[in-house]
Point group: C2
């Protein structure tokens, strides 16, 4: 259960538009200082005890948005989130509250059930099984990007209780937003500025330097590279990226095979889980282009030139001391060169 | 101890400039995508068992940078950090590593011992004791801002093991940086843009709306306001801000008394600790102006017009589910109106 505060109305100061039911409020609010959007006011529903809602046999509890492989018993199944952060119906209705901005919580929030097996983790799956999970990622992103209301679609995975996973049954989540999340917007803007100055993709430049220096590489397979980024925010942060320029995760690259990507992801995860009990994984793909023109500076040009999809994996290895807790400055106790060397040294595939 | 990886050199791919001692590397690195600076490569020293190094009797272990009150046994003492993230000597020496940027770890890193009493928390202190702690904050910020190498000086406090506190003895930390931390830079830029459009301070506008609406106010005292911000990132996030425009925390406002600020901070903390076992507190003050011209867009003008100091307190109330774990989008399960109502309802001062 979420925290339900005891509202003491007798201490409420006088003022206009007091809403006694503020606790029921659920909306997107924009921080006027940092311009990030915050989902506020949602009471978390009780964690359902009893049967796992993601296991075979519970299909009646939810609509199937996608099942793979087609025409056979599902191995990967996509369903609407049971307690979604966003509602799929309606328009975002951006309005002001005085100097502040708010939007209705319109968006998509789905769960990708990655396996029928309640206890099988993504790291334990075969290359073929992981490939099917990645195909589900791509199909859902592609489908949701066709909805003109959405500016950004992504897939993320919280693995392990320390990462805040909602069910122990292996799953990822798909989110489609009516705004571009702040970190992604900075990423898009930085990539655009780099391109405008150099006519090169910053991610391609990173790939090139990582390949040349070698010391932060974890593994390489087919057209894909896994490496610990130069300014890793946490120990063992690992990115997976295509060697060929491609802005869209969901569009297969003709020069690379998704089975290589799946195999590389499996190899990386099997190494990371030896070090960290939990991790976050986020797919960074291009935004829904026709919806984001206003938010990117400079003349209009397709992000396909200057953006490059990648997967970011952030292991959770424990509390970090001596830094700002709120990440105003990151402090990472382990150099990515050391992290990559350790990860390369593991023989787990 | 930090994690010491087993570096397996036989798996190291060939490449230029491999440094075998990468694990000893300690430097600032800039993320080329988001442009945040990350301190990497520091091995954490073992947590000293035995006598508390902050208690009276351990003065011989460290130099005293400031002791209050002057000329009497200290009640508040400022010392260099035992295992600093930054070194006070030298120049930052910004250099390139290929396409990446790095700097030497030049800066100040100090510990403010807030009381002689090993078990007394800031929330438990009298108004007079808290006032002395705030005076120490101000004196150290003012002193370090006189050093032309530093672009930004701040004080933060990690209270409670969940916040990553380093010693149980009540303390804060002072950090002076050769860069402006990313969140602060965005804050400065947003405040400047707001001012350029409206010729008003965004923080003054926030204070004005909060006073008018009332529903997010926690308490008010003298010239100071405590409120839960509209787009609170975590449940019970609380800011303390001066009603009068003033960009510099360290310069006393003639229209307000620091004892009122101390009293208000004590009242807020006594309420928050009833809800959350730990919190982060960060003082946001103006940057070292002469050092930051290049990083603020637009024509040069003093930040004194468009910035406004404030204290941000982020309670740690537990794991947050169903959002991006890495804060690409914040999800706060409790509306700030409800948080403020609960905090107002507590009778703890």
């Amino acid at each position: 259960m979420g925290i339900i505060p005891a509202v003491s109305s007798c201490h409420e100061p006088a003022g206009e538009d007091i809403r006694p039911s503020a606790v029921d409020l659920m909306e997107l609010r924009k921080d006027p200082i940092t311009r990030s959007w915050v989902v506020v006011g949602k009471q978390e529903s009780p964690f359902a005890a009893g049967a796992c809602p993601l296991c075979p046999g519970s299909e009646g509890q939810s609509k199937t948005l996608l099942a793979l492989p087609a025409g056979e018993p599902w191995q990967v199944r996509v369903i609407p989130h049971f307690d979604p952060l966003y509602r799929i119906e309606g328009e975002p209705a951006r309005t002001a509250e005085g100097i502040y901005d708010r939007m209705d919580l319109v968006g998509a929030h789905e769960v990708i059930v990655e396996t029928r097996d309640h206890s099988r983790t993504l790291a334990e799956m075969s290359d073929g099984e992981i490939e099917r999970v990645l195909l589900a990622f791509a199909l859902r992103i592609d489908d949701l990007k066709r909805d003109a209301r959405f500016k950004y679609v992504t897939v993320f995975k919280n693995s392990g209780p320390l990462a805040g996973e909602e069910w122990p049954h292996s799953h990822s989540q798909v989110v489609a937003n009516t705004f571009v999340p702040r970190r992604v917007l900075y990423e898009l803007r930085a990539a655009r500025e780099w391109y405008q100055q150099r006519e090169r993709c910053v991610f391609c430049d990173i790939v090139s330097q990582e390949k040349r220096q070698g010391k932060r590489i974890v593994a390489e397979q087919g057209g894909f590279l896994a490496f610990c980024p130069y300014a890793s925010r946490v120990p063992y942060e690992t990115w997976i990226i295509g060697l060929s320029h491609n802005s869209r995760f969901e569009i297969p690259d003709p020069s690379a095979s998704r089975v290589d990507l799946a195999s590389l992801l499996g190899r990386v995860l099997r190494r990371l889980v030896r070090i960290a009990p939990a991790y976050h994984l986020v797919v960074h793909t291009s935004p829904n282009e026709t919806q984001t023109r206003g938010e990117l500076s400079g003349f209009w040009r397709s992000v396909n030139d200057d953006y490059h999809w990648h997967i970011e994996i952030l292991p959770i290895a424990g509390l970090i001391n001596k830094s700002y807790g709120i990440k105003e400055t990151y402090f990472n106790s382990l150099a990515p060169e050391s992290a990559a060397a350790t990860l390369r040294g593991f023989d787990s595939g």
